[in-house]
């Protein structure tokens, strides 16, 4: 049958000739595995870096953002399911080589390239080559990922990436199986590997009513992040909005997000954030030493910045992140 086994992600798809992996974008051609989406993004935008969200990297800067079709997870609440759950030939694409991505990012005064929207792991070769080209031109590489990847390719990726935001979708295997048709452990392993590699890490948890909003789930997740990544790791709680296969649920109540924020602060986390609630105090950065407001945000816009050279301007405490 001339099958090949893809070992990029924990699914280890065994793909017959002419077939494709679970992600839809990797195919077996005569016993060799090919990416179907190299240099053919279906989404190209310039976003504020806060949209990813990265709150500890170059606040207020633009991120040249790209994505291809496909994903190796199948989340019921996917906000970008039109591109993540489609075949590459069904998506509108633009030919854009890694060098051209870098050129356009520089031309548009972006400081970073974001690999985002769908899942940069499934367009691994494109992500990697673009990261190399971007590094050579002084741009930052920031990845937005679910972290469902095997260790060898992740270790390689960490050599060229500057920052990775991982969606830690839940803290139980049951949640991952039912919500995303995936498993928890590879994601936790990825987070630990990224942290150890020195690549800047931020973690995001989308709180979905009735699915992962219990005190026990929140507390377990917060403590895992604190104990394995450190209290200085930014932890974002995002508001769920009904979409795709979860249209029957209400948006996450703001009280639930505030409760998660309070719990994380009480557990000693230094930088806790609330996403998708524009006016919440949890969108701001506060100094963990003197508690003063350092970066004020409204939506994705930075409205105040009281940091000087990566330090609190009031007490000179160093704030971890990439600030220049």
């Amino acid at each position: 049958m001339n099958k090949v086994e893809c070992v990029l992600c924990p699914r280890h798809c065994r793909i017959p000739e002419g077939g494709r992996g679970n992600c839809r974008v990797r195919t077996n051609v005569k016993g060799k595995l090919f990416s179907l989406v190299y240099g053919t993004p279906c989404s190209v935008h310039i976003d504020p870096i806060e949209k990813k969200p990265f709150f500890h990297i170059l606040p207020g800067s633009g991120a040249f953002s790209i994505a291809t079709a496909g994903c190796n997870l199948h989340c019921r609440y996917c906000q970008n399911w039109q591109i993540s759950q489609t075949n590459p030939e069904d998506a509108q694409t633009t030919p854009l080589s890694p060098d051209e991505v870098v050129r356009q990012a520089l031309e548009n005064n972006c400081r970073s390239i974001a690999y985002t929207y769908s899942e940069p792991i499934v367009f691994y070769e494109y992500t990697y080559d673009t990261c190399v080209a971007a590094r050579n031109k002084g741009l930052l590489n920031i990845l937005v990922s679910a972290g469902y990847i095997e260790q060898p390719p992740l270790i390689e990726l960490c050599k060229v990436a500057h920052a990775i935001k991982i969606d830690l979708k839940g803290i139980t295997d049951e949640f991952y199986q039912k919500m995303s048709q995936a498993t928890l452990k590879p994601v936790l392993d990825s987070i630990i590997t990224i942290k150890k590699s020195g690549v800047w890490l931020e973690i995001c948890n989308l709180i979905v009513p009735t699915w992962n909003d219990s005190d026990q789930d929140l507390l377990t997740l917060i403590r895992w992040v604190r104990d394995n990544c450190g209290k200085e790791t930014p932890l974002h709680f995002s508001r769920f909005w009904p979409t795709y296969q979860l249209n029957d649920l209400p948006p996450t109540p703001v009280e639930t997000l505030t409760r998660a924020w309070d719990m994380a602060k009480a557990e000693g986390m230094d930088f806790v954030y609330i996403g998708n609630v524009p006016d919440h105090k949890g969108t701001n950065t506060y100094c963990p030493n003197d508690g003063k407001l350092l970066i004020a945000r409204r939506g994705y816009a930075v409205t105040e910045n009281h940091m000087v050279d990566g330090k609190c301007k009031y007490c000179a405490t160093t704030i971890p992140g990439i600030w220049k």
Partner: protein, 57 residues
């Protein structure tokens, strides 16, 4: 009570029929489904895979 029982029976019957329809559709799909032909651009040999000679079975 009698009405409830009848409804339950009817629901079960509908579920059974739906399940059979899904099974038949899946079976038909298994024999007729084909991925589209290869695109003219976007192809690049992937990293991180095992080739047939290292696979058993």
């Amino acid at each position: 009570m009698q009405i409830l029982c009848n409804n339950d029976t009817r629901d079960m019957e509908m579920k059974r029929r739906d399940f059979l329809k899904i099974c038949l559709a899946a079976l038909a799909g298994m024999f007729t489904f084909k991925w589209p032909s290869l695109p003219s651009h976007g192809l690049k040999e992937a990293r991180f895979y095992r080739s047939p000679d290292t696979l058993a079975g």
